[in-house]
């Protein structure tokens, strides 16, 4: 079963561009080693993290910053097909942590091999560069949500986004999907208090827009949810409608 590690990555990329066979092969040859991480463990303590870039293959992880008085802000959620630390190939960043929110499976790209590959294949470089640009677009959208959307709209927007991101990598079942975040985690994503997240979830549940119990999200009224969030999936750069 070791041959299929980059498949969620490739699934995601194919929603965006045509991927020639040669690039696919490059990615396969780059991502062969596999490693696991338990739920709750910090990514930095992973033994390999100094020498390789990690592609998340299964599970959900979060990037966050911790502040002096214990406040935490999650700045990104990683789902299968996402690189967790591509930037580390170039920039040393000590100020952010990554944590596995559920048991995670990673495919490793050796730094030296990646460096070599980017030097010889402008195509792959382009692909990875674009991927990081789209991650940035996602963050930009989060910024808009933080600044100018209400708590309810923000929450709705987050769910819309995650639904599509999970769907393109085949991690949804109709309008349902698993999302291993506690309400406290969600609060740290949205920049809200846990209590308020709970209330907003209740509101959406009450209006029969969506439910989120334990770790299971079900979108009951997709149109309404999009409407509340003013969700426009353009920034995810898919070539056609996902849902």
């Amino acid at each position: 079963m070791e041959i299929d590690l980059p498949s969620p990555l490739i699934a995601k990329l194919e929603w965006r561009h045509d991927i020639p066979v040669s690039m696919r092969e490059d990615l396969f040859s780059l991502l062969k080693r596999e490693r696991l991480l338990d739920a709750g463990s910090d990514f930095k303590q992973a033994s390999w993290c100094g020498t390789a870039c990690s592609l998340l293959v299964e599970g959900v992880a979060a990037r966050y910053k911790l502040m002096s008085n214990g406040r935490r802000q999650i700045t990104a959620l990683h789902v299968p097909g996402d690189f967790v630390d591509l930037a580390s190939q170039f920039v040393r960043s000590r100020d952010y942590e990554v944590v596995a929110l559920s048991p995670c499976r990673f495919a490793l790209a050796d730094r030296d091999r990646l460096q070599e590959l980017t030097e010889h294949s402008a195509g792959v470089t382009r692909l990875l560069w674009m991927d990081s640009l789209i991650d940035a677009a996602i963050q930009q959208e989060w910024l808009v949500s933080m600044g100018r959307r209400s708590a309810l709209e923000h929450l709705a927007h987050l769910v819309c986004e995650l639904f599509l991101r999970l769907k393109v990598v085949g991690r949804t079942d109709g309008f349902s999907f698993r999302l291993p975040l506690t309400q406290a985690d969600v609060a740290d994503v949205l920049g809200l208090s846990m209590v308020h997240v709970n209330r907003m979830l209740k509101a959406l549940r009450g209006d029969e827009v969506m439910t989120w119990t334990n770790q299971n999200v079900t979108i009951v009224n997709w149109g309404r949810l999009r409407e509340i969030a003013e969700f426009d999936p353009d920034y995810l750069a898919f070539r056609r409608e996902v849902a």
Copy 2:
């Protein structure tokens, strides 16, 4: 005077890495044409914006998203040495606008030439990729500010960041610098109301931490300002202390 267009870019990059002469030459040859934009004009209406990538050489510009009910969120501020639309080389994004906040001078990089350059020079590609990664790091820090810093801390953090970014490109005078944003603009950066921005400015002025009148910022007590903001410049990736 046309020879010096990329100089703020190079100044910025040199705070981060050693730039070999060959790369410097590549950048010079890439960025030769010059264009102006009036304060207040939208970047998309610029004639060249379909065929070239634009490096801001002089002035300040803002990237923002407009929402249905008129709310606006500024997601990035561009200062001399910043590419305004590097992403457009790869991704079509219709959902964000860029506006010149003061009269702006741009150096243009022809898309085709840039494409060609990135195919032949892995070094330049790396440099530009890293630059976009650091832009993303800045956005990440903005996200933290939005989510988990108070209005006052957020404002202080913004000023700290802009001070350093302007300083490395030689746009500061001691602890003073020009920042052509109205309080309404600042509100749209911070995700606050104009009125509240005004109050926070007053508070910082009253405590003799900084002043911001008209378009002139003066930091009176740098240590205190950093303290309020919990500012750690690591994310800007400079190799040594700027201030």
